[in-house]
């Protein structure tokens, strides 16, 4: 190990490292956001109370079955394999060359969606039944109940798990180098391929990964605190203005 080599590699290749890190962040951030939205949507659909009869019942059952297959497939296969299947499969099936970055975001999103769907469902189930009943009792339908009462609370509850998923995505985007997406791992491999300093190059990459995951964790902690709001509240003084005078 030579510390000088690490310095030299950084000096010579920092734009490539930064571009790689930027790409990793972009793919994992967009993937996590879209994945969370997918998860929330599936969570809402899968908690629709199934009526006892009618066409709606059949439709919901079919929809739930499709969603189950989606979740089982993407949770049950490695992302590196999904990347190969989707990227080369789309080329074979539709004769189109997917944009690599778009393909990467697509793969991370639907993969995250499958995991988030279960996390969201757990989050919705953990909300007190009374919250649903109170919303229904004032005449809200399922979607109004979800949007105005349940999902805001669910979102707060699943935020730690979402952050966890984001951190996993930052690391796991490295498997996308198999479809030649220029994220951090791919860039590092190119750098090391040029200078044959594998250890030093990947040492730099590991530090960059660590900085990204650590920063994301801290930011999410801060967001969680902000969402909880202040512990104090002010009473409104009735019949007086801000100076305490009668009005």
């Amino acid at each position: 190990m030579s510390f000088e080599w690490v310095v030299i590699i950084i000096q010579e290749n920092w734009p490539m490292f930064l571009r790689g890190a930027g790409m990793t962040l972009l793919i994992s951030l967009v993937g996590t956001i879209i994945g969370t939205i997918i998860g929330l949507l599936i969570g809402v659909i899968r908690t629709i109370p199934i009526p006892e009869h009618g066409a709606k019942k059949g439709m919901l059952k079919v929809l739930n079955a499709i969603l189950s297959i989606y979740i089982e497939f993407f949770r049950g296969t490695p992302m590196i394999v999904q990347a190969m299947v989707i990227y080369y499969g789309s080329a074979l099936a539709f004769g189109m060359d997917m944009d690599r970055i778009a393909a990467a975001i697509f793969i991370v999103s639907i993969n995250t969606g499958a995991y988030m769907a279960e996390i969201v469902r757990g989050g919705i189930v953990s909300i007190d039944k009374g919250q649903f009943e109170a919303a229904h009792a004032i005449g809200m339908n399922h979607f109004q109940t979800m949007m105005n009462v349940v999902l805001p609370q669910t979102f707060r509850n699943i935020l730690p798990a979402t952050g966890n998923q984001f951190v996993i995505n930052i690391k796991d985007t490295s498997v996308l180098n198999v479809i030649s997406v220029s994220e951090l791992f791919f860039q590092t491999k190119s750098i090391a391929g040029n200078n044959f300093r594998y250890f030093e190059s990947f040492f730099v990459a590991s530090i960059l990964y660590l900085i990204m995951t650590f920063t994301v964790t801290r930011i999410l902690r801060f967001v969680e605190k902000r969402m909880d709001g202040p512990d104090n509240y002010d009473l409104i003084k009735i019949g007086t203005n801000s100076r305490g005078e009668k009005i």
């Binding site: 919250q131 009943e133 109170a134 009792a137 005449g139 809200m140 707060r156 509240y233 009735i238």
Partner: protein, 246 residues
């Protein structure tokens, strides 16, 4: 007096267990009806059947000459006409006090935000919680939460208010503040259907008392009849037992 809600031959089973059997009663405009009875007698289930939080197994609920249990009836529109107050308050945890009373008006009744806030503040004042508009539910005591829950239901300006044991989850000293608000509402002519264990309160405010036992209405009548001259054996036993413990 016009009948607002008429319950006919209502029944409810959970699996093979029959909780309510052939219930018939009605609530008239401006009337306060109290449902009393021991735990497990089906009185909460009955109240929850009235606004369809429980789906009745049979019978009819007639509201404005329409059977709510008909298949294609708009349940959500019907529910806006019934204000519900729960034993466990069930305030929306993600909203502050004011928004708890506003969100239903804006999203369900499609009122403007300004109008909804004005109405919400009016009813928060009625329950004495207008100072707390910015507080979150977790920052309030049980009695305060329940008063906000009452204001939330009133803000929808319903035809009938349903109370499901509104003081059962409260500390003794907080029971009074909630009962005081309810008495005030009763005096203002609001139609109320109340499930309660507070016998003194029931005797004082109600126009009609329904005594339930083992899933049926065992006796009903004016408070004088029920509390002073109950005819049924079960009513007498129940009252003797509860009045002794009170």
């Amino acid at each position: 007096m016009t009948t607002i809600i008429d319950i006919q031959h209502l029944s409810k089973s959970f699996g093979t267990h029959e909780v309510l059997k052939d219930i018939n009663f009605s609530v008239k405009k401006g009337e306060v009806v109290c449902i009393i009875g021991s735990s497990g007698s089906g009185k909460s289930t009955l109240l929850r059947c009235v606004n369809l939080l429980e789906q009745p197994s049979g019978g009819a609920i007639i509201y404005h000459n329409e059977n709510i249990l008909d298949n294609n009836h708009d349940i959500n529109a019907y529910r806006t006409k019934l204000g519900m107050v729960f034993q466990q308050f069930n305030l929306f945890n993600n909203h502050n006090v004011l928004n708890n009373c506003v969100v239903g008006q804006v999203k369900v009744l499609k009122r403007s935000k300004e109008e909804a806030e004005k109405i919400a503040k009016k009813y928060l004042k009625v329950v004495g919680m207008d100072q707390y508009v910015n507080a979150k539910p977790k920052q309030l005591s049980g009695g305060q939460k329940q008063r906000v829950a009452i204001a939330r239901a009133l803000s929808m300006e319903p035809d009938v208010m349903l109370f499901d044991e509104p003081t059962s989850a409260l500390d003794p000293e907080m029971v009074d503040e909630v009962l005081k608000v309810m008495k005030q509402l009763a005096e203002s002519g609001l139609t109320m259907l109340i499930v309660t264990h507070e016998m003194g309160f029931a005797k004082e405010v109600s126009d009609w008392v329904v005594f339930m036992d083992q899933g049926v209405i065992a006796e009903e009548g004016t408070p004088e009849q029920i509390f002073n001259n109950p005819t049924g054996e079960r009513t007498r036993t129940f009252l003797k037992r509860t009045l002794k413990t009170n």
